[in-house]
């Protein structure tokens, strides 16, 4: 595990809260944290390069743009797992995909630009893999206050 110092932790905690839309946003955040702008930028670049952060930028909500998200699950035969993973991940609509320890062992999220897109992509995946795709669309999302304490 890559070492994080206290400044890195403060940056990670602060930047989970949101980033300003201002002409010099790094300078604004750096000032809040008592850092220099170039120090903040250098540290963020290192955190990205070392994969301590997976993304830094806007998080878009497909549903708010008229599209949809849907959690999906499949029961994939163990011996065929890598091949099926490649088939599923090849779809750009697959935003993330996790292996889980359950009979339903592959769980992925589809993000599509139209509501109808979810069913269309799921059908394509079923045709390509010969496996059933279970759809778990959200019926209600509860407010969350969670942040990772770095």
């Amino acid at each position: 595990m890559t070492a994080l110092d206290d400044t890195d932790r403060r940056i990670l905690n602060r930047l989970q809260e949101g980033f300003p839309i201002t002409p010099h946003p790094f300078a604004d955040v750096a000032a809040e944290l008592g850092l220099e702008e170039d120090d903040l930028i250098t540290r963020l670049a290192r955190l990205k390069d070392t994969r301590l952060i997976t993304r830094f930028g806007p998080f878009y909500d497909a549903a708010a743009m008229g599209g949809a998200f849907c959690l999906c699950a499949m029961q994939v035969p163990e011996g065929d797992f890598d091949r099926i993973t490649d088939l599923v991940n090849a779809h750009p609509e697959v935003a993330h995909n996790y292996e889980r320890d359950h009979a339903l062992n592959m769980w992925f999220v589809l993000a599509t630009e139209t509501k109808a897109g979810i069913g269309e992509v799921a059908k394509r995946i079923e045709a390509e893999t010969g496996l059933t795709v279970l759809l778990f669309p959200k019926e209600h999302e509860f407010f969350i206050g969670f942040r990772v304490a770095a």
């Binding site: 955190l47 998080f59 909500d61 743009m65 320890d101």
Partner: protein
């Protein structure tokens, strides 16, 4: 909110991340042939309307030592699910919490709550707390640990 073609170009230019330069919005504007003020105004409008949930970092739970990641799933009586789901979502160790349709008979669970921790024991202890909170409205539950990240890219807009 409807997004126009300029918004779409802006989304495509930023969906994999913001440039790490002192004036990132100006750099994006240059690349798209827009001016910085328009880029900022459009991003602000999309944030205000919820198209952008937030501009932020996504920490890598695994690299930060949060290697135990459990999707706890619960079969909760429908009449109690909204109220109890709100209480589960408010727990500080729950990162996502949703009601979803059951897929009977294989999948009886309607409440999903993601729980992260440094060890599976820590996650299991949190699961016990959720179970206590759900009380008599709970019929059965399970936990699915993630054993591998197979893909994590976030939203990608195609052509359009």
């Amino acid at each position: 909110m409807s997004i126009d073609t300029t918004d779409r170009r802006l989304i495509k230019a930023t969906q994999s991340g913001l440039p790490l330069v002192p004036a990132p919005y100006a750099e994006i504007a240059n690349a798209l042939g827009l001016d910085e003020a328009e880029v900022m105004q459009r991003l602000q409008a999309m944030q205000d309307s919820g198209v952008i949930r937030r501009i932020a970092v996504a920490p890598n739970h695994y690299a930060l030592g949060m290697t135990a990641n459990g999707m706890t799933v619960w079969d909760v009586e429908d009449s109690a699910a909204l109220g109890l789901g709100a209480q589960v979502g408010a727990l500080e160790f729950v990162s996502h919490c949703y009601l979803r349709p059951r897929a009977l008979p294989d999948w009886p669970f309607n409440l999903f709550a993601m729980v992260h921790g440094k060890t599976r024991d820590e996650v299991a202890a949190k699961r016990v707390e959720i179970r206590a909170l759900l009380g008599d409205a709970l019929r059965s539950d399970d936990i699915l640990y993630s054993t591998r990240i197979l893909k994590k890219t976030g939203l990608r807009l195609g052509k359009g």
